[in-house]
């Protein structure tokens, strides 16, 4: 499953480690919150980067201050219709000011990529190669937005007011 980051398919430095699976000591790994809680003492002392995988019924505040230890937070779309991860992403970026990677995995399809990116997701494990290849054009399909989100795009109201403000000078 290709990983798209910065608009392009790129090799994935991270490895998802299932609960119960052995974790390599010196490679970047993503573990579940259960695993993190159970093995925190040893995981904290790893030399390699660590990432966390949230279930989509978990809220980021469960991680507390530990959130800022993680290089990546992986959030899941178990089915594309399950939109909880959009909220998780926005909370990570806007509430907790998480600056690491927020990656989407699961049923990640072309039609949802722009919504995901607007919510602050910056890495995508995309189901279909064709969707991954079309990432840039997909993101560019809509250019005007009506509401602020976690991205830095300015909604149309802000653009209008900025335009008005500039006339005043």
């Amino acid at each position: 499953m290709p990983l798209v980051k910065n608009g392009e398919i790129t090799p994935d430095p991270w490895t998802h480690i299932a609960d119960g699976e052995d974790a390599p000591l010196d490679a970047p790994i993503i573990v579940s919150t259960d695993r993190w809680n159970a093995e925190r003492a040893s995981l904290v002392h790893r030399n390699a980067p660590i990432g966390i995988r949230l279930r989509n019924d978990q809220l980021p505040d469960e991680l507390g201050e530990d959130l800022y230890r993680f290089g990546v937070v992986a959030i899941e779309f178990p089915a594309f219709k399950d939109g909880r991860a959009y909220t998780q992403a926005r909370l990570l970026r806007e509430r907790y000011r998480f600056t690491g990677e927020v990656r989407a995995f699961g049923d990640v399809l072309r039609d949802q990529l722009l919504f995901m990116q607007r919510c602050g997701i910056d890495a995508f494990k995309i189901r279909k190669l064709a969707d991954a290849e079309a990432f840039r054009s997909t993101i560019g399909e809509i250019s005007v937005f009506f509401q602020p989100a976690a991205d830095d795009r300015r909604p149309v109201t802000a653009l209008r007011n900025r335009a008005v403000a500039s006339w005043a000078y």
């Binding site: 939109g83 909220t87 009506f146 602020p148 109201t157």
Partner: protein
């Protein structure tokens, strides 16, 4: 979420009519689309939208392009997202209005359009607004209902209700916030939607609406969750600056009314002279806030007709009449009728003549002939029974306008399945079509109300067959006529006073 459904016979496309407001130009485009891409008609719905029943998939892109030319679309009229925001069809012209609800409906519409966080909610989400004490938008039956009110200092803000809805589990919304200051509207809605997005059930589509979450958490706990989230969002990026509010308000500025006195000699003499016209004025014309003007309701329920359907010719006739008499403005009501919001009282008679030519002058608004019926098993994939022919049969029974007027205000709502798109739960007389052993049966509920005193109707007894149900409805009405205190006691008030017993007796005594 693009409004296209596969129904029994063909595709159905639901076009959004934001808060039921249309220009004559837009109405002409809807008529053109009915002709060019459909079979010459459309259906106005209980959420102020329009549905086309026969578009071809291959034609839909061209159809949507035609809509775009008049600033219309079919976005978010399906799917688990925020749907069309509906409002009082008398917005901007009703007497006693605190503020025009269309202003805030438009603000919410923009904010909710392609909202990246709330496009995959547990289920669909419906919001309605009213600006007057009299609730013509059924706000208490919506996921979020908003009433524009004043606080004790006269400041304008909102009462926020949450968790109303019909369908399988009809529930009247509860008030989560007695008074919300204006600038907090969008942050507060984001808080509600966010709590719903995270906590709403996703395991069972029949338990996924926000009303279920409010019930299972309890209002107190649900309110805590929302208010907590709101503390983070208040004053933040989604809050609308006053300049933007004012800019949007300007779009809904009143038309250039003439300065007139209230009351009109032409109107009075026409009423004296023509009994039919007088009857129409009584039921179809309402008080306007501007002296000398009136609000006119156009009934899309001719005797024996299909409720809410309009042919392309009828749509064009309404567009022409709107241009001539109502500043080119038209509203769609959630009772499947149309409204011309601002007509000079002195021109009511000419307008009525114009409506009559096109069969659009049935004097039955809010009365027994003004039946609300979903498309039912004649069209809809979800239906168990037909609703339209039942509506037609009942309509014929109450054909006589004098009789309807004598009966007084009465709402009859028919749904062809438990999804309740006909809003039968809140009909004074509600009919729910079910299927049993290949036969269509209809369960009657009584005492429902969709207004500010919202009530869910109660089942009166065993269901009636397709052949018997029109007669049963007539029996219910006869019972009311026999038992009402006087001519001024409405059906729903009489039912509240009498209870179900006399109706049960009349319906089931001989069975």
């Amino acid at each position: 979420m693009n409004g296209l459904y596969l129904q029994l016979h063909a595709y159905m496309l639901r076009v959004a009519i934001p808060y039921g407001t249309l220009s004559s130009r837009q109405m002409r485009t809807l008529a053109h689309i009915a002709r060019a891409y459909d079979k010459g008609y459309g259906h106005f719905t209980t959420r102020q939208n329009i549905q086309y029943n026969w578009p071809k998939l291959v034609d839909v892109p061209d159809l949507l392009d035609e809509l775009v030319k008049v600033e219309m679309h079919a976005l978010q009229t399906s799917g688990n997202c925020i749907r069309n925001v509906t409002a009082d069809p008398y917005a901007g012209v009703a007497a006693g209005e605190v503020e025009d609800p269309r202003i805030y409906a438009e603000i919410i519409r923009q904010w909710s359009t392609l909202h990246p966080e709330f496009t995959f909610l547990p289920r669909k989400f419906k919001i309605a607004l009213t600006g007057t004490d009299t609730d013509r938008a059924a706000v208490k039956l919506h996921d979020i209902g908003i009433a524009i009110i004043r606080d004790e200092n006269g400041a304008v803000g909102f009462r926020i209700d949450v968790g109303g809805g019909q369908g399988r589990t009809p529930i009247i919304a509860e008030t989560i916030r007695d008074f919300l200051p204006k600038q907090d509207l969008l942050p507060y809605l984001e808080a509600i939607l966010r709590v719903y997005n995270m906590l709403g059930r996703r395991d069972n589509i029949y338990k996924a609406r926000i009303k279920i979450l409010v019930q299972s958490e309890g209002l107190e706990r649900f309110t805590e969750l929302v208010e907590e989230e709101f503390t983070h969002l208040k004053g933040g990026a989604v809050e609308l600056p006053q300049a933007e509010l004012d800019r949007i308000r300007a779009y809904f500025a009143a038309p250039r009314y003439e300065t007139l006195d209230n009351g009109s000699k032409e109107l009075e003499s026409a009423r004296q002279a023509d009994e039919e016209f007088a009857a129409w004025v009584k039921t179809n014309v309402d008080t306007h806030k501007q002296p000398g003007y009136a609000i006119v309701n156009i009934s899309l329920k001719p005797v024996g007709g299909i409720p809410g359907d309009a042919s392309a010719e009828e749509m064009e006739a309404v567009a022409d009449l709107a241009d001539r008499y109502s500043f080119g403005e038209i509203r769609v009501t959630h009772e499947q009728n149309l409204t011309l919001p601002s007509v000079q009282q002195s021109e009511l008679f000419s307008l009525w003549l114009g409506l009559k030519i096109h069969g659009l002058a049935t004097a039955n608004i809010g009365h027994a002939g003004d039946i609300i019926a979903c498309p039912g098993l004649d069209y809809c994939n979800l239906a168990n029974a037909r609703s339209i022919p039942v509506a037609q049969a009942i309509s014929r029974k109450f054909e006589n306008i004098r009789r309807q007027h004598d009966i007084g205000r009465l709402t009859i709502n028919i749904s062809g399945c438990i999804n309740a798109c006909g809003h039968h739960h809140v009909g004074n007389i509600g009919l729910l079509g079910v299927e049993k052993n290949g036969e269509e049966l209809y369960q009657i509920t009584l005492g429902g109300r969709a207004d500010e005193n919202a009530e869910i109707g109660r089942i009166v007894g065993p269901a009636f067959s397709y052949d018997d149900v029109p007669g049963a409805v007539e029996t219910v009405v006869e019972t009311y006529l026999q038992q009402r205190e006087d001519n001024d006691e409405s059906f729903v008030d009489a039912y509240a006073r009498l209870g179900a017993t006399p109706f049960k007796e009349a319906l089931y005594a001989t069975r």
